[in-house]
């Protein structure tokens, strides 16, 4: 039932649990970007989390049940889009793995996986978006979150669109492809090691002199923002969608409302 590009594609937004709970403005930025690009965006109510906490803790049974719930809720859409490389990677790469022992369910998961995209690469690679109508005063540096980069090949897409934001300057950091130390439950199971890794990351962020740090995954962003704030840094941290949608006026991650 996939629509032709000229018709308005029906997109199911997989909000992701962190965006839903901590930073809904990222979800609205995603909706705006896709609506501007001609999509009809819907948000199925029957969604919670992609199941990674269970999957990566070895709890395959719960991961599978959550995957079934997500597939059921999102099957009717032309596309399933998440403002996160990590959650999109889970839906696209790992859901089929969960059903390897059941040919019918596996095929269903494979068909579902084909429709799944990470937000920014969906805009550029599927919808053919070449520029955005947004302005941002200042310099940014962009961190490549691991799953988006290595599972889904998201690297040039956000940079290409960021270059079309009026007034924005990109200052690349050293090793933007090195993990920030978040790793889901890793950061609370091995806090000492996670802290070492994120400290190295914030060092490279500071070196750029950029005023704002961007990335495409809220988990990584909360980790890096949390560390930068603890270090007393004034660098603002935002999801890349906020900037691309021209919705970066509100408080940055971990900042209080102004005024």
């Amino acid at each position: 039932m996939s629509s032709s590009p000229s018709a308005s594609p029906r997109v199911g937004l997989f909000v992701t649990c962190l965006v839903d709970l901590f930073r809904p403005s990222v979800g609205f930025a995603a909706v705006k970007l896709m609506e501007d690009a001609g999509c009809t965006v819907e948000v199925p109510a029957a969604q919670t989390c992609c199941g990674q906490p269970a999957f990566n803790s070895g709890d395959r049974k719960d991961a599978r049940e959550i995957a079934e719930q997500v597939i059921r809720a999102f099957e009717p859409y032309d596309y399933v889009v998440a403002p996160s490389g990590s959650c999109a990677g889970m839906l696209k790469k790992h859901y089929p793995e969960l059903f390897e022992d059941d040919p019918q369910a596996h095929e269903r998961a494979e068909n579902f996986a084909e429709k799944v995209h990470e937000l920014v690469s969906f805009l550029t690679d599927v919808l053919g978006v070449k520029s955005v109508d947004a302005a941002f005063r200042g310099s940014v540096t962009y961190h490549d979150s691991c799953s988006g980069l290595r599972e889904l090949g998201v690297k040039d897409q956000p940079r290409k669109l960021l270059k079309t934001v009026a007034g924005l300057e990109i200052k690349e950091m050293r090793d933007p492809d090195v993990c920030c130390g978040f790793g889901g439950t890793f950061c609370v199971k091995y806090p000492d090691i996670s802290n070492k890794i994120v400290s190295q990351k914030t060092d490279t962020v500071r070196e750029t002199g950029a005023g704002t740090l961007l990335a495409g995954d809220l988990g990584c962003l909360m980790n890096m923002a949390g560390k930068l704030k603890r270090e007393g840094s004034a660098i603002e941290v935002r999801h890349v969608a906020e900037v691309l949608a021209g919705m970066a006026d509100g408080p940055a991650i971990g900042e209080k409302a102004k005024g």
Binding site: I66, R150, V188, P191, K256
Partner: protein, 478 residues
């Protein structure tokens, strides 16, 4: 070797505080990575070669029995002997038997992780045989009474100043005022000290990077030439190798060699690639009088046909640990047994049990960089996850983790209830965090807030706001 993997957390806390170690690890973070990237980029067919290398090993693992038999026949036809060792103990005893027969007092050794796995040096010392490590890195850590912290750079955790200090302390026959400023002078000194040991040795032991079935040849790759002296000069050369080192043909091995050094050190080829087939022949100018191969299983055959079979493709290049943020943070010793880094996180539970090494496959952010650079395309994160599944099945996780996961999953599978509960709690949390926009500490979030602030939620959840937006739209439409 004593297993210290159960105290991984304490080991890593120590490692993070160790100033010398942290200084030494800085080299790993830059040197290896840049060199590998340049070497890979300079070879257009590098990615294709990785596919071929993977396919060759997959083929071997599917027909391992056949190739092992073929290999054995060929070794024996060349005048060598093959000894099958099911366990580490078998291997140690077989090696000791050869050494006793030859009245060996001194044994030189080329760099070999497999002899670490079977704890050979300790065993030799208990039995009155002196093992002499001849690889520079191995020699340094032998002097320091340590084990390797990296599979190709065993002394990567030691700074140059520490090496100098060790040499001055142990090489007491040399002028105490000698200049050891330059790394090359350290190398020269080690060479000079080791030179006589090669002649003293009765037996030389090496590992093997590959065993070739069609010719019965063992191969080692080195950069110092120490392996050649180790295996050529003594009365007997003993090769200790695990069963998955088999490769069918010379042609196959030349394919895999092209990805090995590039992935490891960024070299096109290692300085020495040495092929050994049988003992010295009558018309050979030199070579060992006896040639033995100890073929070690030590749990590997049980990995065949399991979720972990692909781990047996590993060619021990070290690229996974060179690119691992966790290894960069804590170094190799924290892993607590022979094999560190991502490959160790998969292999160690297979060899010593996940009950003793459960931290290893858990201490990963799943950043995937190891898999991205593995020349044999081993899906390391996937296999670490499989170990986590084994732990979960066997109830090896802590009660707190299981309870927390259970509660979370209960709600995650009930969207309406989940949204009701999260709606309430995020509003409360949002209000609490409003003044600062973040929390410096929060009950139950100590793991997070020990080192970083927790950004406060904005308030209403996305789902709440979306539902409101939909209602407004409907009202406007009506």
């Amino acid at each position: 070797m004593e297993i210290k993997s159960p105290t991984f957390k304490d080991n890593s806390a120590e490692a993070l505080k160790d100033v010398n170690l942290q200084k030494a690890l800085g080299k790993v973070r830059t040197g290896f990575i840049d060199k590998r990237a340049k070497a890979a980029e300079a070879l257009p067919e590098f990615e294709d070669l990785r596919d071929r290398a993977r396919d060759i090993k997959d083929h071997v693992l599917d027909h391992l029995d056949l190739y092992l038999e073929r290999y054995t026949e060929k070794v024996e036809a060349a005048g060598g002997h093959v000894h099958w060792a099911e366990t580490a103990e078998d291997a140690r005893n077989q090696i000791m038997e050869i050494c006793r027969r030859l009245n060996a007092r001194t044994v030189t050794k080329g760099k070999s992780m497999i002899t670490e796995e079977i704890g050979l040096n300790e065993f030799f010392e208990e039995n009155g045989v002196t093992p002499v490590e001849t690889d520079l890195g191995e020699y340094i850590i032998q002097l320091r009474g340590e084990h390797p912290s990296h599979i190709i750079a065993p002394a990567v955790h030691v700074t140059k100043d520490q090496v100098e200090e060790e040499f001055r302390a142990k090489h007491t026959h040399l002028d105490p005022n000698r200049n050891l400023e330059e790394p090359t002078t350290l190398l020269g000194e080690a060479r000079a000290v080791l030179r006589q040991k090669y002649f003293d040795a009765d037996v030389g032991i090496t590992g093997a990077n590959f065993l070739i079935a069609e010719t019965g040849t063992s191969i080692i790759v080195t950069n110092e030439g120490n392996g050649d002296l180790t295996q050529t000069l003594p009365k007997a050369h003993i090769v200790v190798a695990s069963i998955e080192k088999i490769v069918p043909t010379l042609e196959d091995v030349s394919q895999i060699l092209r990805v090995l050094a590039r992935s490891a050190t960024g070299q096109d080829m290692s300085v020495y690639t040495t092929f050994s087939t049988g003992p010295k022949r009558d018309d050979d100018p030199d070579g060992p009088g006896e040639y033995h191969v100890i073929l070690l299983d030590n749990g590997r055959s049980s990995m065949l046909g399991s979720d972990y079979q692909e781990m047996l493709r590993c060619i021990r290049c070290g690229a996974c640990m060179n690119h691992c943020p966790v290894y960069h943070a804590v170094g190799g010793h924290a892993y607590g047994w022979v094999y560190p880094g991502p490959m160790g996180a998969v292999l160690t539970p297979s060899l010593i049990g996940v009950d003793k090494s459960g931290h290893l496959p858990n201490a990963s952010t799943f950043c995937g960089r190891c898999e991205a650079v593995c020349p044999m395309r081993i899906p390391l994160p996937k296999m670490m996850r499989h170990w986590r599944e084994r732990e979960f099945e066997r109830n090896l996780n802590s009660a707190t983790v299981r309870y927390g996961l259970g509660v979370w999953a209960y709600f995650a599978k009930r969207p309406s209830l989940y949204q009701f509960m999260t709606g309430l709690s995020m509003r409360a949390l949002g209000l609490l965090g409003r003044t600062k926009g973040r929390f410096g500490s929060l009950p139950l979030a100590g793991g997070w807030t020990k080192y970083r602030d927790l950004p406060a939620p904005e308030g209403k959840t996305f789902q709440q706001q979306w539902a409101e937006r939909q209602k407004t739209k409907q009202r406007e439409a009506a």
